[in-house]
Subunit: 321 residues, 2 copies
């Protein structure tokens, strides 16, 4: 048995240190585009993967903290992957959020891991899905991917979830931001957090109007919470699990998983091809940099010269005969 498999065994038995070490391996190898080397990882999957996203300051971490608690009382083993901006300047508030989560520190059936975004869009897109699979492999049946902010990164990362929760607050700005980033199109459920604040009715009305224009099927429910006091959070925890079951029944989950798997393969293809292209005909790249060849012609020349799959022989090469 390999070291990794031994770690998997220990992680399954509840050793969170082993889980942490496995995630580090997965994160590093996935980030570098290397094979992960853990048997059965690819086909592993938590029973439900929940994406939680929304503007900074919407109270996502507090909400997630409450949801984790609610799911724990229902017997789930819960993993949280928190995708954080790692800037030293935003560290304060966000570290504060993370610290809040530490209420679950002594619960062996809760595992929380932060991953950083700084300058690593491609890396995150590769590593987050693998971390989620790993958590599934070692027995966390409910995994949350929490993102800070609503940019393109978040949309991509949240695309790895089965059910996506978008958290907004009373006030119109959030909804505009969310919509702009295309997150409206991926929301399965809206939570208006800080629902004790002014502007709740307008925000709900605007959200309903926005949903009327779209054609999300099933139509995303809109729930209200005050995460700081816990008001409404149990209902969200239940709605998420119910929604996952409904999406599964309707076959929607299956097609989402299939699309996700296709994307994972596309990422590997893109990585390999671009790496091979970078090593291909340097005379062509010199022309590209000098602007003396247009991109279409350069792509033709590079793809033509390409040894596409390293170790699989050159394309159309005479040595094939």
């Amino acid at each position: 048995m390999s070291d990794l498999e031994e770690l998997v065994g220990r992680a399954r038995a509840g050793d969170r240190g082993a889980t942490a070490r496995l995630i580090s391996v997965v994160e590093r190898r996935a980030g570098a585009g290397e094979p992960i080397g853990i048997a059965d990882l690819w086909s592993a999957r938590p029973r439900v993967v929940v994406g939680v996203t929304g503007s900074p300051g919407a109270g996502k971490s507090t909400l997630v903290d409450r949801l984790v608690g609610a799911w724990r009382t229902r017997g789930h083993r819960v993993g949280v992957v928190a995708v954080d901006p790692s800037s030293p300047f935003s560290g304060g508030a966000i570290l504060g959020d993370r610290v809040r989560m530490q209420g679950h520190t002594h619960d062996p059936d809760v595992f929380i891991r932060s991953v950083a975004t700084r300058g690593a869009l491609g890396g995150l897109a590769r590593s987050v899905p693998e971390i989620v699979r790993l958590l599934g492999l070692v027995g966390y049946d409910l995994v949350v991917i929490e993102t800070v902010g609503v940019g393109q990164v978040e949309v991509e990362v949240v695309g790895e979830a089965d059910v996506t929760v978008v958290v907004i607050t009373p006030g119109w700005g959030d909804a505009i931001q969310a919509n702009k980033a295309g997150i409206m199109e991926i929301a399965d459920l809206f939570v208006i957090n800080k629902a004790d604040r002014a502007g709740l009715a307008e925000t709900r009305r605007d959200l309903v109007a926005m949903l009327d224009l779209g054609h999300r099927e099933p139509r995303p429910p809109i729930l209200e919470t005050v995460a700081t006091s816990g008001e409404g959070t149990d209902a969200v925890a239940e709605a998420v699990v119910a929604l996952a079951a409904e999406l599964d029944d309707r076959g929607i989950l299956k097609s989402r998983v299939a699309a996700r798997r296709r994307r994972a393969v596309e990422r590997v293809i893109v990585d390999r091809v671009l790496r091979a292209a970078a090593d291909a005909d340097q005379a062509v790249w010199a022309q590209v940099e000098a602007g003396t060849v247009d991109p279409g012609a350069a792509a033709d020349a590079l793809l033509d010269a390409l040894e596409i799959a390293p170790g699989h022989g050159a394309r159309g090469g005479s040595s094939d005969e």
Copy 2:
């Protein structure tokens, strides 16, 4: 002479209708990944391409409006490509901004074009650079790429600029957002707009601290403006042109242009390969969707089967003999 070349001739002579029609052609063809079919487009380049980005509400459009005016009085022909979220819900404010720009409507040497972002990240990445080149081809020597927001899209699109201006306002939130999105790393010049508001000194101090941590070379200057009154905007217009000259002298511009050209080629390669892969061995894709093959093995199989460059013959195929 083709219709397009005739249009180029008319656009060069100052016919903005011809420029508008050319941009529509370029946008459509680039978006669809088709060859543009305009001679010399690839090597065309405005003398200076300026990216302007920052949070919504930072006053970018008003600032750009002032800069356009300042550059016009210095004899530049100015093009503006405004990258807009096209959501019906954010339309109000942003259309308002666009309307403000109409002060230049009757100036034949100013050309303003909005392009939409909705659900078209890849499309924008392909079309914006081509539009910028087209504006260069027809004689706009100074082109502004203005983006709304500070997400990954913006970072990618602004990557097409020679000089990048990041607009913030007094208040800490903007800076966090900008930093999170990685826009700090691409800023050549900071403008603190609405500099008559409270919090200016703190914002400047925070920005200086942030720059102290980084190692942008040359270190980005920080200028202050009140765009609504025009205060400080002439200085920004001059600083941008001076900075472009400095970056050119130091050879930095040359390497940015080279990197940009490489990215353009990579985009074509990725498009072609993914399209070809999607059409390749469907049995492999079925296994991918079912989760019975891991991404690495699937990529191997697909790349092996791939007819990489359509029209160039199958890789290693027996028909080559």
